[in-house]
Point group: C2
Chain length 338, copies 2
């Protein structure tokens, strides 16, 4: 049998009340008693029965996912996964909900973050980096809230990220792209929604480094920014087709590939172009099946969601996590392993 608090009390030679005070940090306990309890915890290997504790405490955690309001298909998938996870975590006293934030307006995003964060125990934030948002997040963190960044890389601040390592993802894209492209010299187009996003920067870094080292025959051209505007994307792609005679591949860095790939379809013959894109959506899946996209670099959104929830809970309960469970894998998707 697992030792209970009673066993702990006996082992430490103190009363249940004192054990409780130590375990729950209630204060008013002498140093000697605290030490005795901790020693006994080690000695008999006591671990709190979290279910029982939560039951007794009647505590329910409130976690919120803040997602961009104009998110595309990928964010749509995220909502589905959050709903799903919401149900399974409800049994464990964890309420998960979502809120849409105006991603393009850093100021309002920061304001909403502060407001919503005050009411929740944990926040999982998907938003472009900006000083305002960063400050709001750090302030919440100081107030004992637990904040996670989704999909945006380690960055410089002290907000824990959940999602793939974007530099490694870029490198993976480079490796697949390099191997899928016939040897011989060629140029590679690189597309992003905007290069002011941290994730695009990191992907580009990883992509360039790996391509330069392993595939010196391929030249990565400067990043092209679509701003998610279809017309602009077509113009850019057409210009690229005109100005570069030896384009053999394209890397679409943004999580919403549709606009860019559709533009590529107009300007190029995709049969002769290796196209690597990110994330699994209905669009990219269909494009992969149709041979328009050659490979997807993806991360499992369900895993990201569940991992974020587990990590927020672990932080709330001051516990550790199982690192290997929380590592988000960089998946390579082909038609055969969709």
């Amino acid at each position: 049998m697992r030792p209970t608090t009673k066993d702990l009390a006996k082992a430490a030679g103190v009363s249940l009340a004192s054990v409780d005070r130590v375990l729950n940090d209630r204060g008013g306990v002498g140093k000697k008693t605290v030490a005795a309890v901790h020693e006994a915890i080690e000695r008999i290997g006591f671990t709190r029965n979290v279910s029982a504790a939560n039951l007794a405490r009647g505590k329910t955690y409130e976690f919120r996912f803040l997602l961009p309001e104009d998110g595309g298909e990928f964010v749509g998938k995220l909502y589905d996964r959050i709903d799903e996870a919401s149900q399974m975590f409800e049994e464990e006293g964890i309420k998960v909900s979502t809120a849409a934030i105006p991603a393009l307006d850093a100021h309002r995003t920061a304001a909403m973050l502060a407001e919503i964060g005050a009411k929740a125990d944990g926040i999982a934030l998907m938003s472009p980096d900006s000083p305002q948002v960063r400050d709001a997040a750090l302030r919440l963190q100081k107030d004992g809230k637990h904040i996670l960044k989704l999909f945006s890389g380690k960055g410089v601040d002290e907000i824990a990220p959940v999602g793939i390592d974007n530099k490694a993802a870029g490198a993976t894209a480079a490796q697949i792209l390099g191997r899928f492209t016939p040897s011989g010299p060629g140029e590679v187009l690189v597309f992003a929604d905007t290069m002011s996003a941290q994730d695009s920067i990191e992907r580009r870094l990883g992509f360039d480094a790996f391509l330069a080292e392993r595939f010196p025959n391929l030249t990565a051209l400067p990043s092209l920014e679509t701003y998610r505007q279809p017309a602009r994307a077509v113009t850019i792609a057409s210009n690229a087709a005109r100005n570069h005679s030896n384009v053999v591949a394209a890397y679409v860095m943004s999580p919403e590939a549709a606009v860019t790939v559709n533009a590529l379809k107009v300007a190029f013959d995709l049969n002769n172009l290796t196209v690597i894109a990110h994330e699994r959506t209905d669009y990219t899946e269909a494009a992969l099946r149709a041979g328009e996209i050659d490979a997807l670099i993806a991360q499992n959104p369900g895993h990201v969601v569940r991992s974020a929830i587990r990590q927020m809970r672990a932080r709330c309960e001051n516990r550790g996590i199982v690192a290997s469970q929380e590592a988000i894998r960089i998946e390579i998707l082909l038609e055969a392993n969709l």
Copy 2:
């Protein structure tokens, strides 16, 4: 607030005792009462508080993983993951342990399965298919035990599998192999420990079908069986090198690639050979880094272990699972996304 059993009793217009009888299938309840309770469950959306139930019941589940005793590196990794999962599930009243079975001796394996299975609530079995083992498993299942097969595909019996779809894994191998290999005609070597294993058969099927359809320039040669014997593997590989002048790739189907890849190194120049193998181990990881292996088709063993445990629990508690969480992904590993 989530409705409790008290709320349920009130809503159904019956007593707590009756609610309890219905919920726990204790019998001695009139049809009308049962119907009223079920109706009320639907109406107010009652769901059992599993933590409280387990606490009250004081029940701890015993789950066992049966793994081949002479397993190689891959099985070693599995043990690590089981240890890890064992700790995290212990908090939830689930005891997870392992036992080694003599995989090559179907008779003894079946006997051990019957003996160990009788003492556990759930069994996760990794073993080659054999009528004896299959019968023992089905018998246990009839006795209310919950059995899962690890890594061995759907098969024909009614034992639920946990692990990747081996046919799709074979197809994925074919797709990667085909794209990594320079166009033009060529021959492909296919290795297995033994083709009497169900997983190898399925992988081969998926591989052949995909290769024939998409890469008609490549010819997959008959499967070569190493029986995990290094000397035999070298002989086989050397013979293949002698008899086939245009070998451009090799597919190593077994989860322990070391023996085969080492043999290939002797007989071929791996720089001119695309090698696809399975599963991430220290060996395959190093070989991938060294460029000896070009890609790995893998599954996350930690995920498999945790999924098996969750599924056994769900079966014990007669609950559903979150399908998207339990699907084991076919991972493609390159150096960049290790």
